[in-house]
Symmetry: C2
Subunit: 287 residues, 2 copies
């Protein structure tokens, strides 16, 4: 199936319990009618040290969030003030724009509001295109090993992504490992000594792996304390560097291995209680 069809139809399916939200998102997508523009549902945004927000819809290419507020959002002055504070915090923290759609309005008025948003989006896309800064939502190509091999490198700023371990292995022309801890979670580079190719999974049965928001640190931690201690002991003195493809599943259920850079073990931050901490030492790898 066409990836965009798969993606957008999953997005509409996922939000179907909030049917007004589905309605608005589907209208924005179809009226934009530009398959180069990516829509992201439930975008995570940090508001301050304690709080975060999930915005209803995010357009990463133009840094625009759209909040689709159903009638309960306007039930009380308190609720309105909370929403307004939330909007301000998101805009201040991210420097993005937040637009709110008020779903108490009539259908015709909601349509007019959406048309205005479509205009805003199209104007921004034209501006970016003029400056040569618009990056289309590439899909089918971008996920193939061939695409990256053709370029000859991976660079974290380009957010390179693979769909499977098989595809990661193709990048380095190595055989796909079948079993065992390290062969399951990674494999040695075919020519470079002390370089591993690693694909940790964020939400794993045995491992509790996390990556810091800025992407500089990876926390690798066995969920079982005894196993965790053994694991730290085994690796604490390793000189190995790891080309890391961090595996995350997005809200729509799509699983990706994203290249996060080359990491090495940080001896100071790691300890038997909390597990191993890996620190990024390079954002680039030649293929």
């Amino acid at each position: 199936m066409d990836y965009r069809l798969d993606y957008v139809s999953k997005l509409l399916e996922k939000t179907s319990k909030k049917r007004i939200e589905t309605y608005v998102i589907s209208r924005i997508w179809h009226k934009l009618s530009n398959s180069e523009i990516k829509l992201v549902p439930q975008q995570y945004v940090k508001r301050n040290n304690e709080k975060y927000a999930l915005t209803d819809l995010y357009l990463p290419q133009i840094k625009l969030h759209i909040e689709i507020n159903e009638p309960p959002h306007y039930e009380s002055i308190e609720r309105i003030e909370i929403d307004e504070k939330r909007r301000e915090e998101i805009e201040n923290k991210t420097n993005h724009t937040v637009i709110i759609i008020d779903c108490r309005k009539s259908l015709d008025d909601i349509h007019i509001d959406i048309d205005e948003i479509i205009n805003i989006i199209n104007v921004k896309i034209i501006e970016l295109n003029k400056l040569g800064h618009f990056k289309p939502w590439e899909t089918d190509n971008e996920f193939t090993p061939e695409f990256h091999l053709n370029k000859g490198y991976l660079k974290i700023q380009e957010e390179p992504c693979l769909k499977t371990i098989e595809d990661i292995c193709k990048l380095f022309d190595v055989k796909v490992p079948k079993r065992g801890f390290y062969r399951k979670g990674g494999i040695g580079h075919p020519t470079e000594k002390d370089l591993g190719i690693w694909w940790p999974v964020e939400k794993h049965r045995i491992w509790d792996n996390q990556i810091s928001e800025n992407g500089v640190l990876i926390y690798e931690k066995n969920k079982d304390l005894a196993e965790r201690k053994k694991h730290v002991e085994k690796y604490i003195n390793t000189k190995e560097r790891r080309a890391t493809f961090f595996c995350q599943t997005d809200v729509l259920g799509f699983k990706f291995y994203r290249f996060k850079g080359i990491f090495e073990l940080d001896k100071e931050l790691s300890n038997p209680e909390f597990g191993i901490v890996w620190k990024r030492i390079d954002d680039f790898i030649k293929l």
Copy 2:
């Protein structure tokens, strides 16, 4: 909430498990962007004496069915032939048009197909408008007792609809009944002797009520055989006519009381085993 927003968002919610269908329906709706055009999901169509079909989407104003065929429809030659036969039967039986969207295509090609369908629909609407035959999808007004009182009559060809028993009672300026069999299922006309106002429910806890496809007969049947016999005995010699508002719930969960005409009991067709059969004797009532 705006009725059309309520209706279309429920339609998208309802089909969300068939996500490609939802995607296509939402695109047709948003690209048409004409809230005077009604979309009906899962339209019942009789194919022959034994078989019926539910088409994915139906536009009653222009008698157009749209079938959204996902890849499994093309799995085998047999399946393709079955679909083709089904399409022919629907077109021959109804004199409607059936258009098929092949979802094996790429997203861009599906979009092109939908654009062509949008054109076909718009051309038909323009033609109907020229002839003065286009009846817009009226919603908010059409369901109010005031709308019908203003016209001064109900006529089955116009498919008059009410939303509640309260609204039916307003039409005749009678008090809403509270309890008891007959007062629950109907009430006497305030001025005409032997005329009842009746609102049988199709799917009822106690009653198994049905209306024939051509709307001429209503089968009224208590689910319990002993009660059914008692009920037939009680009414078999009645001379009463009934102005009937048959209550049905559509696939989206909207409940309506639709005026089906004036009925009287058909003594020949009714019997203690099968219940009472009511026969239409008029398609009109003055208000």
